[in-house]
Amino acid sequence: MEAHTIVLGVIGSDCHAVGNKILEAFFSDRGFRVINLGVMVSQDEFIDAAIETGAAAILVSSLYGHGEIDCAGFRDRCIERGVGDIILYVGGNLVIGKHDPAEVETLYRSMGYDRIFGPDADLDAVADLLACDCAAKAVPTGTSR
């Protein structure tokens, strides 16, 4: 089976590099083809990389608190750029202050993210979900999903 391509990066002016390096190593190890854009990545840079590489998913990280500003409108931008159906994951410390994870999930779901993860996400579980989501997306158009 061909490896699913995923685009990875830390959004906005965020320079938290450690987790990003670990995610790259982890998802590569789990058999994904990882395009890692590193830290301080704009929405358009994520989308450019996804288009260039035919990626199935974009994995956005945000650790520094500006996620609410940086991540807003990402799905709309994907639609404008012609990749509206791409899988969008987001994870990290996504808001300022300590909030109920359910509220954070609702907020980011309304921005168009498919799955939302906190800072303590179990990476193995994330990789399993991602593999399923990518496989479901790979089903040719016309077949029921």
Binding site: Y64, I96, D120
Partner: protein, 481 residues
């Protein structure tokens, strides 16, 4: 070893200054003569350099939080609340300002006003301008420091120092390599020479501004010799530009032997390198950062980590401690959580203040090892620079002679790989091109091999990852699952 980097000439400084002040409208409000008068009219208890000097003389350990929000009134409210629970105040700058993205910071201010709470992770001081920053400083009864992560911090310095802040964190390496992706090191070093010269100009007028190189760097398993080398370089560069009050920093590794040895050796090396470079008229203090890596989710466990950091700082008599909060795992804390971190820290420091600092043969051996590592790296930096510390530093990073683990910058080699030993100290697994003395490298290899044998696995990247997550999962050393 001596270096011949010249102080920025008045001509070069002035040539830059008009561009710097013109880079955002609030820059026009800086009035140097007025700000000198303002600083001179302030009580010594509001000056960071003065308060640190006195604390150091009596062996006190001061505490300082991190804090900053988008709106002026909210920021003043936050610091006014915190000042009763700490000795020194911060103003943490938001991440857009750190990248000189003042328009985005402005949008963040407006959106925060609409949302009724801060959407920025710090205080956008440039946008608030001299008058706004002055209001902050005048509302408070403790010295206030600017804490950020800005590779080009010239305008931020012009505005905040003019407003009355009396300490400025950062440096051309420590606010580039861990904080950016692609800013050339020479550019950030030159921009920080401007900041240091500006501080030197305040000094020339009799106003002492404290400078603090950012010690923890990437905050992730950084060997003390690496962060010490960067701190010494930034200290020397600051002294060259006329700075006189320097606080060298170090981020907690978690091993008390290594942490106490690191703080001791940092102070010794500071005096050694500063005096050897011909500087005599300076004040040197130290800052210890509580654990900068990942924190446990559980607030109770987080207090354990905070208290352990307070313990190491008190046993090593750091001049001040930068305090974490029980919300660290979740990001930016509430003001109440911030207060709790300060109170937990204060409790430990008070209980240790009457007890003597800890010193053991193991600590001495560790301090000696750190010193020999730093001397070897600095010797190579001096050789590479042929008299220029800026050139030596740029070339040292190009060659991987200085190498910061887990830093985002492409101007950092990233070949050095650290890992903990069985006792929890940070050791060198892969030295990259860092010129460790042969016998010291032998020691590191032997310690890493001991752990590998004990865990029945070869030294590997997974071992390093296990170490990175260990504290958040309740341990120091990342044992195999």
């Amino acid at each position: 070893m001596t270096f011949h980097d010249a102080p920025l000439s008045r001509h070069d400084f002035t040539a830059q200054q008009s561009d710097v002040r013109a880079s955002w409208p609030t820059g026009a409000d800086v009035d140097f003569a007025e700000s000198i008068r303002f600083h001179q009219g302030r009580d010594a208890s509001l000056n960071m350099a003065s308060v640190l000097r006195q604390a150091d003389a009596r062996g006190a350990v001061l505490i300082q939080p991190r804090a900053g929000v988008a709106l002026l009134s909210e920021h003043i409210r936050l610091l006014t609340f915190l000042q009763d629970h700490c000795d020194l105040l911060p103003t943490t700058i938001d991440a857009y300002t750190r990248q000189n993205r003042y328009e985005e910071a402005q949008k963040g201010v407006e959106r925060s006003r609409e949302a009724g709470h801060s959407l920025l992770n710090g205080f956008p001081a440039v946008n608030h301008g001299v008058a706004g920053c002055r209001e902050v400083v005048e509302s408070l009864s403790k010295p206030v420091q600017v804490r950020h992560g800005t590779p080009d911090a010239r305008l931020l310095a012009e505005i905040t120092l003019a407003a009355g802040f009396s300490s400025y964190e950062g440096g051309g390496v420590s606010y580039n390599i861990p904080y950016t992706k692609d800013v050339p090191l020479e550019r950030s070093l030159r921009n920080w020479q401007y900041v240091d010269r500006l501080v030197g100009m305040y000094e020339d007028e009799g106003v002492r501004i404290n400078r603090e190189p950012f010690g923890p760097l990437s905050g992730t398993l950084v060997p003390p010799c690496i962060s010490h080398t960067v701190g010494l370089i930034e200290g020397l560069l600051a002294l060259q530009q006329g700075v006189r009050s320097i606080t060298l920093g170090y981020g907690q590794a978690g091993s008390y032997v290594q942490d106490i040895a690191a703080l001791q050796s940092l102070r010794d090396l500071g005096h050694e390198f500063f005096t050897n470079a011909g500087h005599t008229d300076y004040e040197l203090t130290t800052v210890f950062h509580q654990w900068m890596g990942g924190f446990p989710e559980s607030e109770a466990r987080a207090f354990g980590v905070i208290a352990w950091g307070a313990t190491a700082a008190a046993l090593a008599r750091a001049t001040k401690v930068i305090v974490k909060t029980p919300h660290e795992a979740m990001g930016i804390p509430t003001m109440e959580a911030n207060r709790q971190g300060l109170e937990a820290t204060r409790q430990v420091i008070n209980m240790l203040s009457d007890q003597p600092p800890l010193d053991t043969p193991e600590i001495q051996a560790e301090a000696d090892r750190i010193k020999s590592e730093v001397r070897a790296i600095m010797t190579r930096v001096a050789e590479l620079g042929s008299g220029s510390l800026v050139d030596g530093t740029v070339r040292a990073f190009e060659a991987g002679v200085i190498d910061v683990p887990f830093a985002p910058s492409k101007h950092n080699r990233g070949k050095l790989l650290p890992v903990r030993d069985l006792d929890g100290a940070v050791r060198i697994f892969e030295p990259g091109n860092v010129p460790f003395p042969a016998e010291v490298m032998e020691f590191h290899r032997a310690r890493v091999a001991d752990r590998a044998r004990h865990e029945n696995r070869p030294p590997c990247f997974q071992m390093v990852i296990d170490d990175i997550y260990a504290v958040s999962k309740g341990n120091l050393v990342g044992r195999p699952r």
